[in-house]
Subunit: 216 residues, 2 copies
């Protein structure tokens, strides 16, 4: 407990550690409440710091949010892009790995709340929407489009409309993320992400298979 030791200082200067701790706390609070409804006072409390301190490290709420996205999402995108760049095997395996990566690294972590957050607030905070669209969505879509192109070029996938198919691939994953944030509490059992992912991959295998036989 603070205050136990009267000789201990009430607080310490920790210039290096603060930003990370604040961003981490912000991910939690934004995830629970959304952007507009999150109170910076709560973020500060969660980070073990006072509200004024936030403003020493971030100029305002929006920039704090951008920092959250940068820390929680972008490293995973980097990883996914490196994965595709170095891929050797069949394209469907790449797709499978990417979706599994998303399910484990995003869906199961606190970062899973971010998509909901963006969708919820895009209308009222267009700058945020623009930022997320440019930094995340465009890149993720381009990545999946590249996998499809690769598969079609190698004769592993039948020819499909790339844009629509990318959306079909992404939708169930995204929906899982939104679902968790919104309705998990209302359903008895927690949603079975593994089952959904399996069914989705099965469906994709059938959808992408060239007429002759299975793609993988």
């Amino acid at each position: 407990m603070p205050g136990d030791d009267p000789a201990a200082p009430r607080w310490r200067r920790r210039k290096e550690a603060r930003p990370r701790e604040i961003v981490d706390a912000a991910l939690t609070v934004f995830g629970e409440r959304g952007f507009a409804a999150a109170r910076l006072e709560d973020v500060a409390a969660q980070a073990g710091v006072s509200k004024g301190t936030l403003y020493l490290y971030f100029p305002n709420k929006e920039e704090l949010f951008k920092a959250v996205v940068r820390e929680a999402i972008l490293p995973n995108l980097d990883m996914a892009e490196r994965l595709l760049a170095g891929a050797q095997g069949p394209s469907f395996a790449v797709l499978e790995t990417l979706l599994t990566l998303f399910a484990t690294r995003i869906l199961k972590s606190r970062a899973g709340a971010i998509p909901k957050l963006i969708i919820a607030e895009a209308g009222n905070f267009p700058d945020l929407a623009r930022f997320y669209y440019d930094e995340v969505i465009r890149r993720a879509f381009a990545l999946l489009a590249a996998v499809l192109e690769r598969g079609m070029a190698r004769g592993e996938f039948r020819p499909v409309d790339v844009d629509s198919t990318v959306r079909l691939i992404v939708a169930p994953m995204l929906m899982s993320a939104l679902w968790r944030s919104s309705f998990e509490a209302l359903e008895g059992r927690p949603p079975d992400v593994a089952a959904l992912l399996a069914a989705h991959l099965d469906a994709l295998r059938r959808t992408l298979a060239p007429e002759g036989g299975p793609p993988s």
Copy 2:
């Protein structure tokens, strides 16, 4: 313009027409701003009425929102349920009709904003989430599950995990709705709902086909 004619009354009593007009205005404003950020003052202005009048017809913001859902969504669900109950032909045609119905009646109308709204605010307004879950989601899921069961019973669909497959069916439609509300403004072209629906139906045909041949 009001005020043009000095003999015209400043307002009129229109007890019967008010509720519908207010709900209609509320759908617009909630759709643009979300539930929490929508100002009842704006709803009132849009309905051509003063703020106090809203409270003559609806006890509070939440009940007004529920009225919006009842008016904009539930009639479509009723229609869909009647459609399945009276269906004669192949199950895939039923599925196709249902999805097309959704694409035209919900996605293209202002009601398309409601899913976003619910997802956005579920965390902060659990009563709203519960209401929507009970009145809409449960019914819609049961409906699609019934179509799948019907198709499997008639040997038109291969055996699938019903719960996962329902989610796979819904996800792209839902995502379209969310997308429109959030990112339409940021992308150059408007999203091609028809192309997505066609690709989705194509994928579903392949996914549900029994091993022997096509389901429809």
